[in-house]
């Protein structure tokens, strides 16, 4: 129904290139999330797809048809804005109907679709109100409703939840995911929040400085990040990184050692790494085992007890910070020294020079 193809898309603002030739295919019905730090170009890319920003180079195709020259109003896409962008001088009903009136939809059809969207999004009681009489969550629903009534080929979401409080954000996240399941449309969703990306996406596209760092399913990105940037960006809390030097290439992985002389094994392919090369060892907080005397000694700097889980913020002998995630509650106190073991099968290795991630020998939890 709607396949989007981005072919070498470029955006220049004067002499400054904001988007450096992005290639991407978004399949029909896919929920694709653009994620990245602020200023990475994700919103610009979305606005280029929407037709709100001119495309400086490359080609954008929807269902195989080049749409570079089409206006936003002709592309048949719908967008939900971060600021909701509801028309303040219109009632909710008029807000929902505006787009349909513009394409001269018959009145009864408009009424039917508005009612249907209102029921689906539970905004029926507010149809005669003005946007400023609504709460943030209600406004967000109306903004989504305005996109839904148009029955567009593709939904575009530009950080739609960032103006909501944490609790509402979780609720709305579920609703948007539910909406996608029900409608089955292609959706593109921009966020800087990697949790939103992980929970909602079929495909995550990680962007940095106008380039795609990696695109794939949430677990692909989590399990096999292409580089240290993606590894650091995906997953919460952040992956731990330790600066190391390659010591030895073996069949069961790469042996490395840090500045303090601690040895680690990473179950990865060497992929061009040679003994003596500088590298970065990465391990997620969940994959550290605490209290095993065979491990490396660390000092606990602070402890966060959340009841169901706990976080230790430690420092290694070489002064590298290390976050450890523990299930349940812990008796470890601030200032204590404990030992942590890096599980080799969960250890990532990145080349220091360009951050390239080494292929892991065993991927996923099925170890």
């Amino acid at each position: 129904m709607a396949v989007l193809q981005l072919d070498g898309l470029i955006k220049d603002y004067g002499d400054v290139r904001a988007i450096h030739g992005v290639d991407l295919t978004i399949d029909n019905g896919e929920f694709c999330v653009f994620v990245g730090p602020s200023g990475c170009g994700k919103s610009t890319l979305l606005r280029m797809i929407a037709g709100l920003e001119e495309i400086s180079g490359g080609e954008l195709r929807i269902d195989g048809e080049r749409v570079n020259e089409q206006r936003a109003s002709e592309r048949g896409l719908a967008m939900v804005f971060q600021t909701y962008a509801l028309y303040p001088h219109m009632t909710v009903r008029q807000n929902l109907a505006f787009g349909l009136e513009n394409i001269r939809t018959p009145k009864p059809e408009i009424a039917r679709r508005v009612e249907a969207a209102a029921t689906m999004l539970q905004i029926g009681p507010y149809l005669e109100r003005r946007p400023k009489q609504l709460s943030g969550g209600q406004r967000q629903r109306v903004a989504i409703g305005r996109a839904v009534v148009r029955e567009p080929r593709v939904f575009l979401f530009d950080e739609p939840l960032s103006n909501l409080d944490a609790e509402l954000r979780v609720t709305m996240r579920g609703e948007i995911a539910g909406l996608h399941r029900r409608l089955g449309n292609t959706m593109i969703y921009v966020t800087h929040d990697q949790v939103e990306a992980m929970t909602m996406a079929d495909k995550i596209v990680v962007l940095r400085d106008g380039r795609i760092e990696q695109a794939g399913t949430p677990l692909e990105l989590y399990n096999q990040p292409a580089n240290s940037f993606v590894a650091g960006f995906i997953g919460s809390p952040r992956m731990n990184f330790v600066d190391v030097t390659v010591r030895e290439i073996r069949a069961d992985g790469v042996m490395v050692s840090d500045a303090a002389g601690n040895d680690y094994r990473a179950a990865v392919n060497a992929d061009g790494l040679k003994p003596g090369d500088a590298a970065e060892l990465g391990i997620r907080p969940d994959h550290l085992i605490v209290g095993d005397a065979a491990g490396h000694a660390v000092t606990v700097q602070s402890v966060e007890q959340l009841g169901g889980e706990s976080y230790l913020y430690c420092e290694t002998g070489a002064g590298t910070p290390l976050t450890v995630h523990l299930a349940g509650q812990t008796g470890i106190r601030r200032g204590e020294t404990t030992h942590v073991v890096f599980r080799p099968d969960y250890t990532h290795l990145f080349r220091k020079s360009d951050g390239l991630g080494m292929k892991r020998l065993v991927v996923g939890e099925a170890v």
Partner: protein
């Protein structure tokens, strides 16, 4: 609510020094600003002879005439202030030199002689509405009024349309030379109107619009003040709204018409007030363009009351009052927008 507003004081329950100063200042302002208008409105109901009187009276007063038995015409009533008949109310039959022949209305048979310095006319409050009716009967007030209304309304509508379109482009589109164009428009404010009077007249005359209301309307519709006011206001409308409308299949015209224009309502109201005032009170330009009396606006008609030798003050005042009325009404309805509109187009 009005009462609590007017009786509001700074001191709790009693009048503070600030209250005295405030109310005194406000009262002075009312007298200074409203006084002349009230004086004019009251004077417009005076007869021509009452207007010439010295010292003038505040209220429109007219001499009292009474029917007296034995006399066909009503006689004017006087109060005698000296001599043997002091204190009596007498009607004057005729005046001969310094003496006037008078009768007592209660006793019409007897003629009395009174020195004219010993009597003052008795007067009562009376509105000389003939000042107004004459405007419609003897002068073609309706025609002038229509001419003025036509020019004001049409010019205001076109002003709003053109200025808002210019402001929309200058505030919401990014194009080369945008700032230059904007500065150019603002810069025209620095040219005194008297300087471009002649060139504009030449253009209007070449276009054959002399002695036509369009000759007054077209040169006036492009106002830098209006463009500036609307542009500043439109800058505060979020771009996301416009983008949202574009995503909603709205053409640029519909974005302007359905989103930008309604949201600029406070600024538009300000411009409407300004434009109505400018066009309605405009004198010099219509005086130059319109020379035939059937094309005259009210302001020109007012001017024509003032002859070289004689001025019909009673009619002039009546017409001035009628001329002020529409603008007062417009102002009364839209004034609440003035401060909000100007304030909001100023900030941010």
């Amino acid at each position: 609510m009005l009462r609590s507003f007017l009786t509001r004081t700074r001191g709790r329950g009693r009048l503070d020094l600030t209250d005295w100063l405030t109310f005194g200042y406000l009262a002075l302002a009312v007298v200074l600003m409203f006084g002349p208008v009230a004086w004019m409105a009251l004077s417009s109901f005076k007869t021509e002879s009452a207007l010439q009187e010295y010292p003038p009276s505040l209220l429109p007063l007219a001499p009292i005439h009474v029917e007296v038995e034995g006399y066909d015409e009503p006689l004017q009533l006087f109060r005698v202030t000296g001599g043997e008949h002091e204190g009596k109310l007498l009607a004057q039959v005729r005046r001969i030199g310094l003496m006037s022949q008078m009768v007592d209305p209660q006793n019409p048979g007897e003629r009395l002689q009174v020195n004219i310095n010993d009597r003052v006319p008795e007067r009562e409050f009376a509105l000389a509405v003939e000042n107004y009716s004459a405007l419609f009967e003897r002068f073609n007030f309706a025609l002038y009024f229509w001419n003025s209304v036509f020019i004001t309304v049409i010019a205001t509508v076109i002003t709003i349309l053109f200025n808002s379109m210019a402001a929309f482009a200058l505030s919401k589109y990014r194009f080369r030379g945008r700032t230059f164009v904007f500065i150019l428009i603002i810069a025209t404010l620095m040219i005194p109107p008297t300087i471009n009077l002649v060139p504009i007249y030449l253009v209007v005359s070449e276009l054959g619009m002399v002695n036509s209301p369009w000759g007054v309307i077209w040169p006036a519709v492009a106002t830098p003040t209006g463009v500036f006011l609307l542009r500043q206001y439109m800058l505060t409308i979020p771009d996301d709204l416009l983008d949202a409308a574009r995503m909603d299949h709205a053409s640029e015209w519909r974005v302007y018409w359905r989103i930008v224009l309604p949201l600029s309502a406070p600024a538009l109201a300000v411009l409407v007030i300004f434009s109505v005032m400018w066009r309605w009170n405009d004198f010099l330009w219509p005086l130059i363009v319109l020379t035939r009396s059937e094309q005259f606006t009210l302001q020109l008609a007012l001017n024509s009351f003032q002859g070289d030798l004689q001025t019909s003050w009673s009619n002039l005042l009546a017409m001035t009052v009628l001329t002020l009325l529409p603008i007062t009404i417009v102002f009364a309805f839209l004034q609440k927008y003035i401060t909000t509109g100007i304030a909001q187009s100023g900030v941010k």
